[in-house]
């Protein structure tokens, strides 16, 4: 979004214009949801809804550009996720794996719907499955939020150098697990 355009959209959203809220939501909702799914798929939907409501309460006080707004939203999302986890710990709920529901098919066709977002979701699932939480968080914030190292460092409360190290380790770890076997390399022994 161009800076002037974003400024107009933000101002209108702060006034409660629905079209402006829709613009912001369409831009950020998929990123926030993927980010949250990459950290905690069970909480993602609820936390994302909470994130928007929290942002709605304080959007009147926000001033800044597109990039800062994104950083602000991801900060709220991360804080909400931490709150959600604390609440869940107090509630002592048991997370049920999705396999439990194989024998209880839904009436609609979730598989067909899921195919639409398979690539993005598969990528999120890979990041979540292969990386420790802190590395996944840094990489997701950088990729989905489009944030730089300093902004990510501020969000996660770490130094920029630490963020760079986490990012580097995360990329390397992904490469270790995702790299296709290279027969020409592995196979050549003589």
């Amino acid at each position: 979004m161009a800076p002037t355009e974003f400024g107009e959209v933000l101002a209108a959203a702060q006034e409660g214009a629905q079209w402006a809220v829709a613009v912001l939501w369409h831009d950020l909702h998929p990123r926030l949801l993927r980010f949250l799914r990459g950290l905690d798929p069970a909480a993602a939907e609820d936390v994302e809804a909470d994130t928007w409501l929290a942002a709605a309460r304080d959007i009147g006080k926000f001033s800044g550009e597109d990039q800062q707004f994104r950083a602000w939203m991801f900060t709220i999302a991360r804080n909400r996720l931490i709150d959600w986890r604390r609440r869940e710990l107090r509630r002592c709920s048991v997370t049920v794996p999705p396999d439990m529901f194989v024998d209880h098919p839904a009436e609609d066709d979730p598989a067909g719907t899921a195919l639409d977002v398979l690539r993005a979701d598969a990528a999120v699932a890979q990041v979540r499955a292969l990386l420790p939480r802190d590395q996944a968080e840094v990489i997701l914030l950088r990729v989905l939020g489009g944030l730089d190292v300093a902004e990510v460092a501020e969000i996660v409360g770490k130094r920029p150098g630490t963020v760079r190290v986490l990012q580097h380790r995360g990329l390397r770890r992904l490469a270790e697990h995702l790299a296709e076997p290279a027969p020409e390399r592995r196979g050549v022994t003589t």
Partner: protein, 224 residues
């Protein structure tokens, strides 16, 4: 040494320089241009950035409506604290103004010699200590009862014969019609600005109050 890339076996094939890492996460390095070991990583990160699919946006209208409603409610609720704050600010300002008036009024009266005798004496002695000379309270009896106090001649120690308050108005050049010719061009501002507090206090009647109605008529009658 491998046959494919010519690197020695002790070299790390997954070595990643900072610039390439930055390009990977920033999305400026597509999978085909990435180092072979990082092609899959580049593809995965590219998939993360896929534009939203229709399924992801299904909840849009409901969500947008709910968020907008929350913004409107927050906007409606927000002005209230501001009102409270402004009311509190107005209260503070009123208290400050009252305090300033409470300090300024007696001081003005004291400067004009319009306080009751005892209070004027106290004010004179207190302000005299800080270098401000104001009339003492002795004048009032002299004016109000000229026959009884006129006997003893004024001494050097107490040089406040009662005609002085009447002349007091003449000391300040500001009052009324005399000021403009005396002050010249600056008189318009100086007369109403610089000399205003004292002169207007005297001309406005504050200085005349102790004199009573006769004195007031006298000063006004003398001045033109």
């Amino acid at each position: 040494m491998t046959a494919r890339d010519g690197f020695s076996p002790d070299m790390d094939p997954l070595a990643l320089d900072a610039r390439t890492a930055e390009r990977l996460v920033a999305g400026s390095l597509v999978a085909l241009d990435a180092p072979p070991e990082y092609r899959a990583v580049a593809q995965t990160l590219q998939d993360l950035r896929q534009p939203p699919e229709s399924a992801e946006l299904e909840s849009g209208p409901v969500a947008v409506e709910r968020i907008t409603a929350a913004i409107v409610v927050a906007r409606r609720d927000r002005p209230e604290p501001r009102h409270r704050r402004s009311r509190a600010r107005v209260g503070k300002l009123a208290a400050l103004a009252a305090a300033a008036m409470a300090l300024a009024l007696p001081s003005g009266l004291a400067v004009a010699g319009a306080l009751p005798e005892s209070a004027q004496g106290v004010a004179s002695s207190v302000l005299g200590k800080v270098g401000i000379s104001i009339p003492t309270g002795d004048k009032e009896p002299a004016v109000s009862v000229p026959s009884t106090t006129a006997g003893p001649p004024p001494t050097a120690a107490s040089p406040q014969p009662q005609p002085q308050p009447a002349a007091n108005g003449a000391d300040t050049p500001a009052p009324g019609p005399e000021a403009p010719p005396a002050n010249g061009p600056a008189g318009s501002h100086g007369g109403s600005g610089g000399g205003a507090p004292l002169s207007t206090a005297n001309a406005g009647g504050v200085g005349h109050e102790p004199d009573g109605p006769p004195g007031q008529t006298n000063t006004h009658s003398h001045r033109p």
